[in-house]
C-alpha cells in the first residue's frame, strides 16, 4: 500500500514547510517525519511520497537518503541501540559494552535480535565523550555505562 501521512502528521509537515524559503530545504526533516511514521525506515514508497510532496525528483530524495547514516534503508527492530566506539569512548571501555550487547541480544552489530525487538549498531562520536562509555537507545542517551547498567537498560527493551 502506498505510504501516506495521517492528518496530524500532515499538519507537522506543513509546519516544517513554513520554516523555509523553499520546499527542498524540508527534505531532511520531512524524511525524519516519514521514517518515524513508517516503523523507523525509509521504503521506496516513502521516497516516492516525499519526492511528490516536495516537488523533487525521486533521484534527489534517494540521494539524500543514501548520504545520511540515520535514514534506515531496511526495516529495523522496534528499538535501536547505538554504542559509541570512537576514541574517547574506546579509551573508557566501549568495546566491553558493545561485546556485552552482542552477547545479551544474541546478534552482531548491524543486526536485529531474533525477536525483532532491538537493532544493534555502533555510532561515531555522539558528543558525550566526557561521560564515556555511552550508548543511545532510540532518542535517549545513557552515559557513564557499566555492564550492569547495560543489562538493566536492555531488560526494559526486550521485555
Amino acid at each position: 500500500m502506498a505510504f501516506a501521512l495521517n492528518a496530524e502528521q500532515n499538519q507537522k509537515l506543513e509546519q516544517i514547510l513554513s520554516r523555509y524559503p523553499n520546499k527542498m530545504a524540508a527534505c531532511i526533516p520531512v524524511l525524519h517525519l516519514c521514517q518515524e511514521a513508517n516503523a523507523s525506515w525509509v521504503s521506496d514508497d516513502v521516497i516516492e511520497f516525499v519526492a511528490k510532496r516536495l516537488d523533487l525528483p525521486t533521484a534527489h530524495v534517494k540521494g539524500v537518503v543514501t548520504f545520511y547514516t540515520l535514514f534506515n534503508q531496511k526495516p529495523v527492530g522496534k528499538h535501536q541501540v547505538w554504542v559509541c566506539r570512537t576514541l574517547s569512548c574506546a579509551l573508557r571501555g566501549s568495546d566491553k559494552i558493545l561485546e556485552h550487547c552482542e552477547k545479551r541480544l544474541g546478534c552482531h552489530v548491524g543486526e536485529t535480535s531474533k525477536d525483532g525487538k532491538v537493532t544493534l549498531r555502533t555510532a561515531e562520536c555522539l558528543a558525550s565523550c566526557g561521560s564515556a562509555p555511552m550508548m543511545q537507545v532510540d532518542k535517549t542517551y545513557y552515559e557513564n555505562l557499566t555492564v550492569e547498567q547495560v543489562d538493566r537498560i536492555l531488560d526494559t527493551l526486550v521485555r
Binding site: 530545504a25 540521494g63 539524500v64 547514516t69 566506539r85 565523550c129 535517549t140
Partner: protein, 447 residues
Amino acid sequence: MLKTTTYLTHSYGLADGYKLAAYEQQGGYSGVKKALGMPREAVIEEMKKAHIRGRGGAGFDAGTKWSFMPKQSQKPCYLVINADEGEPGTFKDRSIMEKNPHALVEGCIIGAYGIGAHAAYIYVRDELHLSKARLEGAIAEARAKGYLGSRPFGFDYAMEVYVHTGAGAYICGEETGLLNSLEGRRGEPRLKPPFPAQYGAFGCPTTVNNVETIAIAPTVFQMGGDEFSKLSQLHHFNDGGARIFGVSGHVKKPGLYEACVGLTLRELIYDLGGGVLGDRPILALIPGGSSCPVHRPDEIINHPDPRFAPFNGKTILDLPLGVDTFRMVGSMLGTCCAIVLSDAADPVLALHNLMRFYRHESCGQCTPCREGCGWIERILDKIVAGQGTIEELDRVSEIASDITGNTICAFGDGAAQPALSFVRKYRSHFEDYILNGAKSQTRRLTP
C-alpha cells in the same frame, strides 16, 4: 593562572536552569536589549573588541566574520548556527543547548541583528534529541514573551529562530556541507569561493557560527567587549574572554570546565580533571578534537616571537590553550576539548580507531580523501594484525601528506593530522607491531 568562570555554565547544576525564569534571574536577555539599541555597525565593533575566536575549531575572529556580511543586501541574509557537534572528543555545544538554551537564542538575536539577518537556523545533529527539545522550548518561551517575532523588546527588528535537524554525517559540521544539508541536499562541502557571506544558505549572504561562539555573545554585550576580552590571559594574542574547556579519556574527572582563555593543559588535566587515571604518566594528548595533531607531554616550546618568552623552555602542558599559541607551535587548538591517553593506551590502536572514523565519515567527493582514508585504514588493519611492513608504515605518512591541502574542505587535513603526527611521534610503537609482534605494547586502549 587558573581562573574558572560561569558565564555559560551558571545554570548547569540547576534543575530548571534551562528555563527562561532561571536565565533572566541571572541577567539573561539584558545583553540583547543593549545590542538592539545600538546601530548595527556598533554591534559588530563591540564583537570585534571581544576577540572571540570561533569556538567551532577554526578559531576565526567572530566580529571580523560578521563584518564580511553586506551592509545592504537585496536578498535576505541568514545566520546559521553550527550545532552539528561531531568532532571526536568534543561535547561542549550539547551542554549549552541542553542546559542553557536561552543563551543561544539570545545570541542568535544579537548575531542576526549584527549581520542584518531576520532569521537564524540552528542546525542540530539529529542524535541530540534533548538539545532540540530544549531549544524548541526556549524558542517557544522567548516567542511567548515577544522576544522573538515582529518586535523583539519593542525594537522594530523582526526576528525568527528555527531548529533544523541533520541526519547523521560528521561532514555536515563543515560549514558549506552544513549549508547544503540545510538546503535539503547531500551534505557535500562546496568549493570556496564564493564564501558564505556572499553566497550561503539558499544563495543568500550567510554567516555560519558555532553554538558557543553565539551563546557567549550576550555576555559580551552585558559586560562590554573590551572588558570581556581582557578576562583572557591571551588578550595580547587577540584571543579574548572565557570559554568552555573539555577533557575526556584517561582522566579522573572527565567533563567540561569553563575558564578564562589561557588555561594550560596541565591545569585542565590535573587541577580540573583530577589527574590521570591510576596516577599514570601521560602518553599522548590531543588538544582539541581528533583532527588536531597529537602531542607527547614532553614536547618543549621554543618560538622566537617575544610573546612566547614566558613559555619557551616549558612543555606543551604549560602552554596556554589559545588559537594562535597552538597554531604557532605547529599544533591546533580546535574545539578546546582535549583527549588524554595514559601510558596504558596503545597509540597504534588509537590511530587505528581514528582512521576508521575518518574513512567512515569521508563524504567521498575528493579522491585523495576518499581513497586515502580507506588506504590508511587498510594498512593499519594489517599492522595491527601483525602483517604490516615498514614500507607500508612509511606509506601512511605519504598518503596523509598527499591528502593535505588537496581537498575541497578541511576534512582532509583533519584526517591527515592524526595519521602524520601519531606515526611520527610514536614510530617505535608502530615498528614494534611490525618487527616484534607488538611484544612491548599494551594492545589495549583502556587502563
